[in-house]
Each structure stands twice: as C-alpha cells, then as structure tokens.
C-alpha cells in the first residue's frame, strides 16, 4: 500500500489550492484594509479593527455556523447570490474560500498593519514634499518599506488556511475532491483507526508549519538590521 492514497493526495492538492487562493485574496483585500486602519483618524477605526480581529478569539465552529447561515439559501448574502444567478456557496470550493478568507483575515491584516504603522508619518511626508500623490506614496514608499510585513502576512495566511478545520467543516462539509481538505482527511483516518495514514498527513502539516515559521523568523532579524 502506498504511503499516501489517491484520496490523500487529492486532499493535499485541494488544501494547497485553497491556501494559495485564500492568501492571494487576503493580500488583495487585507492590504487596503490594513492601510486604511493605519492611516485613518475615523472613529470607526477601532470597531472595525476589532471586527477584523474577531476570528482570533471566536471558536471556528461559531464563525462557520454564522457564515453558513449568511451564505445559505435563506441568508442575506445567499439570497443576493441567488438573485444574481450564481450558484450557492456552501459546500463548494468557493464557499471554502470565502469562509477561509474571513477566518484568516486577522493573520494577514495584523502583520500588515504593524508594518505600515512602523513606517511612521515621516517617509510619507518626505515623499509628499517630493511631489508624490497619496496613491504614489502608497506604492513607492509604504509597500516597499512594509515588505517584511507582506512576507509575514503571506506565510501566516497560507499556513493558517492549511490547518483550519472547524470553519471548513461547517461551510464545506467533507466532500471528496471538492471540499475535503487535509485536516478533515486526518480526522477521517483517525476515526477509521488508520493511524499510519493519519501520522503521515499530520507529519506533513507539522513539517510545513515548522518550515513556514522558521522561514519567517529567519526573515525577521534582517528587517531589524535594515531599520
């Protein structure tokens, strides 16, 4: 018997595809959000920062439950999607992406926010006095200076999505090839008493997580040197 079955490999591939998609979406959404949180003086800054941070403390099942209600055929978003003629999100890959984006949002926004705040006002003012418009300053000063933050955000977002279970279970079900991700596959193996397979997959995740965090901590001292 091979170490990894076709189903295991399928789950592996699906998980990587999910994590990559979610990371890309999160960087696209999280960057303007973190920039806004870092720059604004609006009184909504704090409440919105708290909403972004909520998935850190909420049980994933609670989050998944509400998302299921919201995205389901009777939920506000679900009805909107149906009205636009799209297929429903729950129990699809798209649903997994949406749920994972919400769930991993703080892991991307927080490092970006920290990185943007660490730049301070000065370099941006200097750029303004050298004729750079606000958007120009964002791309030519803020983003390059926050590069270590982007790397941290991408690694954390990717790794966190790889390992999630509760949200994925609630919103995705456990459909082979469609929504059955690695963590779910491990759960199935353990339930079926297939400890060797569970070991193999678990070890894969463990090694991956270790490598991701190690890579991040290796990147950190370099950032301090630069500052």
């Amino acid at each position: 018997m091979p170490l990894l079955s076709t189903q295991d490999l399928q789950a592996f591939g699906l998980t990587l595809r999910l994590a990559a998609t979610v990371t890309a979406v999160l960087l696209l959404l999280g960057t303007p959000l973190a920039w806004w949180l870092a720059q604004t003086r609006s009184r909504w800054q704090r409440p919105i920062a708290v909403v972004v941070a909520l998935p850190l403390v909420l049980p994933p099942t609670v989050l998944g439950f509400y998302l299921l209600l919201l995205l389901g055929p009777h939920g506000a978003v679900g009805r909107l999607i149906a009205a636009m003629g799209w297929s429903a999100l729950p129990f699809t890959f798209g649903g997994l992406v949406v749920a994972s984006v919400v769930y991993s949002l703080p892991f991307v926004v927080q490092p970006l926010l920290n990185a943007f705040e660490a730049i301070g006002a000065r370099p941006l003012e200097v750029a303004a006095c050298l004729r750079a418009s606000p958007l120009d300053r964002f791309f030519s000063v803020a983003c390059p200076m926050a590069l270590p933050g982007f790397i941290t955000a991408a690694v954390l977002g990717f790794a966190h999505t790889m390992g999630e279970f509760g949200v994925v279970l609630m919103i995705g079900g456990n459909i082979p090839g469609k929504t059955r991700v690695l963590s779910m596959r491990i759960f199935d193996h353990v339930e079926a008493g297939e400890y060797l397979q569970a070991h193999t997959l678990s070890l894969c995740l463990l090694v991956f997580s270790f490598a991701a965090l190690l890579a991040m901590s290796l990147l950190r001292p370099r950032r301090q040197e630069r500052d």
Binding site: V141, M145, R226
Partner: protein, 372 residues
C-alpha cells in the same frame, strides 16, 4: 538687499514672494505667523527652541492641516481657510529638508535623488549632473543610504530636494545634527548654493552664525509670534528685540576679500565702514564674504588705541542707545561709514565715557571674535 532682487526667469510673478497669515495651536503654544517674504534669497526663521519654528515650516508646507488663514506664493494660493481651499503638499512644489535627512532606506542614493526629479518630469532647466558634482555625490550614487555618514546623507537630502524643481525651499535646521567638520563643509556649500539660487528659501535655525552667513532676510520668532522681520542686517541691529534673542543681536558685515596675510593666517575684508581683519577662511581675493560682529564683542573708546591687542578699530558715530535685558547694560547702535554696528556695554561705561547720540567713538573688535 536690493542687489539680490535680480529678475528671476522662472517665477511668473515678479513682486510677490511667500505670504502667510496663519494661526493655530500646538499644545499649550498659540502660534501666529504673519510673514511676507522676498521673491528671492534666503529668509531665516530664527528664534529660541520651542518658539514654533518647525511648526511654522510644516504649516507652510501643508503637512499639518490644523492652521487657519492664508498662504500664497506669487499668484498661487496654497491655502485659504475662508474659501476652504487647501492645496496638498505634493502639489505645492516644495523642497523640504529636515534635520535628519529622512532618506528612503529602500532606495539607493541615486534612487533617492531621482525620486522627486522623475516626478517633476526631469525638467530641462535643472542640471542633475552639475548638482551631483557640486555636492560631491558622484562617488556615492550606487551606495545604500544606511552606509552614508551624517554629512553625506544631508547632502543627498539637499540635492534630492533641489532636483524636484521646487518653487520654495524649506530647510529645517539641516546642519544641527552634524559634527563640526561636516557642518562647516556643508555651510560652505550652502553659501555657494545661495549665490546661484533662483527660488526663495526659508531656513530655520537656532544658530546665529548660520543665519548670519546665509540669510538675506530675517523673521524673528519668539513664543509662537513674529517679533520682527526685515532685511538681515537691519533686523539684527534693532534695539527693541526681546530678551530671548539677546545673544543673537549684532552687526552682520558683508565685504569683499581684498587680501590675505599668509604668515598670520588673516584675511582682510573691505566694507563700507573700513576694513576688518578676520581669521583666514580660505577665501579667494575678490570674493564677497559675511562676518558677524556680536554686540558683546565690541569695545568702545574715545581715542584710537595704540596699545591694544584688538586688531580691528573702526571709526563710528553713536546713533542711539537702549536698555538691554540686564539692568547693568545697554545696547549702543553705531554708524560706521554707513554700516550699522551694535555694542553691548555697561550703563556705567556709557556714563563714564559721557556718550550720547552723535558722539564720535572708536569701536574695537577682536579678530578672534570674528569666526574661526
């Protein structure tokens, strides 16, 4: 002053420089700025620490939006609070240089220099190569900025600002974070720049020697208020300046180098009131040079002294006298052949010499007091 008001080809407007009437609060300090600056030349914004100098510069640059009033440069209105008009900093065409160079750490030296130059559209009338050479930056172009010395950083910051084709230069204590050697080098380069400068500059400083060597026009600031403004020489020799500025008052003589004494390392400077011997600065004959004579460094006598170590003795006439910040002292305004001098002497000496407006005196100045 007038000889510096040469026609400026780049300024569409002719007669009006920066005009600012602004009021705002910075913590406990209420700042009121009301200034009208010449079209050309360097205006020093001078005053003690905490007078609000940097705040004024930031308000003019549009970096702090809390102020109320108007700011305009020539015909361009930058701020008019009554009309709710506020032009953001990036459209004001500024060249802002701060105490710390604030270079972009993610760019090389040439990346920093070209940041504003590119955004200004690489204007034809700006000679990028000449500026780079003038400030000795050629060998540094490929370097990372964190490998530069303090003086090098500041030179990069200055050229970066000049390359962005500014219509107004704002320099905020650009020399105060430098060591003595770097400071004196850069001060010399700024003097050279001054002569070639086509746009007005506001130069914030609390060091009177920088102001005396660079500025044409002076705005004196104390506790958030403009206490005096006008041409440099006339303003620094006023008798009614507040006590906080007492150390700064004195004459600034602008003269021509007529010779050097190589043996004694002295430079002879001719000006309207005679000649001065000053410690050699390495200047060439014929060059215009400025020299500050602090009010504290002037001794008054009735007769020309033969047995004095003071190398400079100038014939002068007493114009006016006013009490100084300490009751024992007074400030005497003198006219030396058209140049105004200021002497700070004791009330006792004033009476002992029986001085009065119109008295003829000799003003003695130690060459040692006239710069290093």
């Amino acid at each position: 002053m007038t000889e510096l008001l040469a026609p400026n080809p780049r300024q569409r407007d002719d007669s009006r420089g920066l005009e600012a009437t602004l009021a705002w609060r910075r913590g406990a300090l209420a700042i009121e700025l009301d200034i009208a600056l010449p079209v050309r030349g360097i205006t020093a914004l001078f005053g003690p620490s905490g007078a609000g100098k940097t705040s004024c510069l930031r308000a003019i640059a549009g970096l702090d939006r809390g102020s109320n009033g108007t700011v305009s440069l020539g015909h361009e209105v930058w701020q008019d609070s009554a009309q709710r008009l506020f032009v953001p900093s990036h459209r004001r065409r500024l060249g802002y240089v701060t105490q710390e160079a604030n270079l972009f750490v993610h760019r090389s030296v040439s990346g920093n220099l070209d940041y504003g130059y590119r955004r200004a559209g690489r204007p034809k009338h700006i000679d990028r190569d000449a500026l780079i050479d003038q400030f000795g930056l050629r060998p540094l172009l490929g370097r990372r900025v964190d490998a530069l010395s303090g003086g090098e950083r500041q030179r990069v910051a200055i050229v970066r600002a000049l390359l962005s084709d500014p219509s107004l230069l704002l320099f905020d204590e650009p020399l105060s974070a430098l060591d003595t050697t770097a400071r004196s080098d850069l001060l010399g380069q700024l003097e050279t720049l001054h002569a070639a400068l086509a746009v007005p500059m506001i130069y914030v400083s609390h060091a009177i020697d920088e102001v005396a060597r660079l500025a044409d026009h002076l705005v004196l600031l104390d506790a958030g208020r403009v206490v005096a403004q006008g041409p440099l020489q006339a303003t620094l020799t006023r008798l009614d300046l507040p006590a906080a500025l007492a150390e700064a008052v004195g004459a600034v003589i602008e003269g021509t180098v007529v010779g050097h004494d190589a043996h004694d390392h002295l430079t002879e400077l001719a000006f309207a009131g005679g000649t001065l011997l000053i410690p050699r600065r390495g200047d060439v004959v014929g060059q215009r040079l400025r020299c500050r004579i602090g009010a504290r460094d002037v001794v008054l006598t009735h007769e020309r002294q033969s047995g004095s170590s003071a190398l400079n003795q100038l014939r002068a006439r007493v114009v006016a006298m006013a009490g100084a910040d300490h009751p024992s002292q007074c400030l005497v305004q003198l006219d030396a052949g058209g140049s105004v001098l200021l002497a700070r002497i004791t009330q006792r000496s004033w009476h002992a010499l029986a001085l009065a407006p119109g008295s003829e005196v000799w003003a003695q100045v130690k060459a040692v007091a006239l710069g290093t």
